[in-house]
């Protein structure tokens, strides 16, 4: 069974190889400068007002909210897959289970929507 995954490993290996070649090729073919570059060259791209942005930015709470909602609904999707495959085999029982499962999530979804978590601020 796991033997069917062998090509996947080959693909990942080849993908890493190509990525490594792309990442390293400037070191091989690119110009090599002896002088250390000036600070202006080393600065990140800037446009408009200059700002001293370094590591550790802060970002909006909305992104956290979306991430939490994602976990909720992505797990819904993952749980639906096994039921979906075996839906014919289990017939009405699986159907009712699916409906109950989705209904519970719809309640959560309506709550989230009404609380305004889906509004982008």
């Amino acid at each position: 069974m796991l033997r069917t995954y062998l090509p996947a490993i080959v693909f990942v290996g080849l993908g890493t190889l190509v990525g490594a070649i792309f990442t390293m090729m400037n070191s091989w073919f690119g110009p090599k400068r002896k002088r250390t570059p000036t600070t202006f060259k080393q600065d990140p791209y800037e446009c408009g007002l200059p700002s001293e942005v370094q590591q550790g930015f802060r970002f909006g709470i909305s992104f956290y909210l979306i991430a939490m909602l994602f976990i909720l609904f992505d797990i819904e999707v993952v749980f639906l897959y096994p039921v979906a495959v075996q839906l014919r085999a289990f017939g009405t029982f699986a159907l009712i289970e699916t409906i109950v499962f989705i209904a519970l999530l719809v309640v959560a979804f309506v709550y989230v929507w009404r609380r305004g978590a889906l509004e982008w601020r």
Partner: protein, 343 residues
């Protein structure tokens, strides 16, 4: 206790056949990317009433070659605010997930090549679409880490947007395929294709198809959902600080993702290697049928890019959560009821 097999995938070739076919499919996929690139630039030119690249080679066909030479001979450079090793491995993550997802596209069934039975696909795993979503979720790290480790505010904003956008549309994308899985009763990609004998799933699963295609546009960061690299406001998004080979790596991954998504749409909704009207596809023709169908979707991706303007970010988010997600859930429910009722 009832065992729940996702799909009966017990067939596999000898190991050397598996390795050879993986390398062949990878090589074909690798060759497709420059072709898609030049086709996109030519078509975009035509859409905008200009010529597009037409200097390098016949009809500008060698333009990608010139581009890669130029990108390869750039100076290796990173801004002083960047985190070196993350900055270096992020494009690799992006590209390796795109390549790994390519292995899921079946270019044909099991055919006889010189006396050896070979399945014309990279992998035919029992988890099918979940494999795709797994690598899709890892691909998000490529963009996220790349933007975050650049230490530039534009890259950072671009990667945050990418993160929120990718996870928002991944839910709808996954749910859209649940309907197909219910109808086919298997998760194996070639099993799904074989279940479409008689009727392609684009007809019974039309809503699912529309949702999947729309979510795929967002997942591959293609216009009109390319908020991640919105040139007008973010100057380039997550790859603002990237140049040379590393930029090429991101670029390559994006176009490979377009190819992969076209392949998945063809497989899942357009009958893969099956020909319409019940015509039996001979084994040697199957990969060409798949590639022919994929061409339509690749051109469709380019057409949409030339046609639709970019959304605003709050529109993007509310569209994903308030329109696509309820629609996909409804589609899954209706499909479940129909499947059980007609069984």
């Amino acid at each position: 206790m009832i065992s729940l097999p996702f799909a009966d995938v017990t067939y596999y070739e000898p190991w050397w056949v598996q390795i050879i076919k993986a390398i062949v499919i990878f090589a074909v996929g690798l060759q497709l990317v420059p072709v898609v690139l030049v086709v996109e630039r030519k078509l975009l030119g035509r859409f905008q009433h200009r010529y597009g690249p037409n200097r390098v080679g016949p009809f500008g066909a060698l333009q990608p070659l010139a581009d890669i030479v130029k990108l390869a001979t750039k100076e290796q450079f990173r801004p002083r605010t960047s985190i070196g090793w993350l900055f270096a491995i992020a494009p690799v993550i992006s590209i390796l997930t795109a390549v790994a997802a390519l292995s899921l596209v079946p270019f044909g069934g099991v055919v006889d090549i010189f006396g050896t039975d070979v399945g014309l696909y990279g992998v035919d795993v029992s988890i099918g679409p979940l494999y795709l979503f797994a690598f899709g979720a890892v691909a998000f790290y490529g963009i996220m880490l790349g933007g975050w480790s650049s230490g530039s505010k534009y890259s950072f904003l671009g990667s945050m947007r990418a993160a929120a956008q990718l996870i928002s549309y991944e839910v709808s994308q996954g749910l859209a395929l649940v309907g197909v899985v219910m109808t086919a009763g298997t998760l194996s990609m070639s099993g799904i294709v074989e279940a479409q004998e008689g009727m392609w799933y684009v007809i019974p699963q039309f809503v699912g198809f529309i949702i999947f295609l729309t979510a795929s546009f967002a997942e591959t960061n293609r216009p009109p959902f390319d908020l991640v690299e919105a040139d007008a406001e973010l100057v380039g998004g997550y790859n603002t600080e990237y140049g040379g080979g590393r930029f090429a790596s991101y670029f390559f991954a994006e176009y490979l993702n377009v190819v992969v998504v076209s392949g998945i749409v063809v497989t899942v909704f357009f009958g893969g290697w099956l020909l319409p009207f019940g015509i039996d596809t001979p084994g040697w023709l199957q990969p060409f049928v798949v590639l022919f169908k994929m061409t339509f979707f690749i051109v469709f991706f380019i057409w949409i890019r030339a046609t639709l303007p970019r959304l605003r970010y709050d529109q993007l988010m509310s569209f994903g959560w308030k329109v696509l997600l309820p629609l996909a859930t409804l589609n899954a429910l209706v499909t479940a009821i129909v499947v059980v009722a007609t069984d």
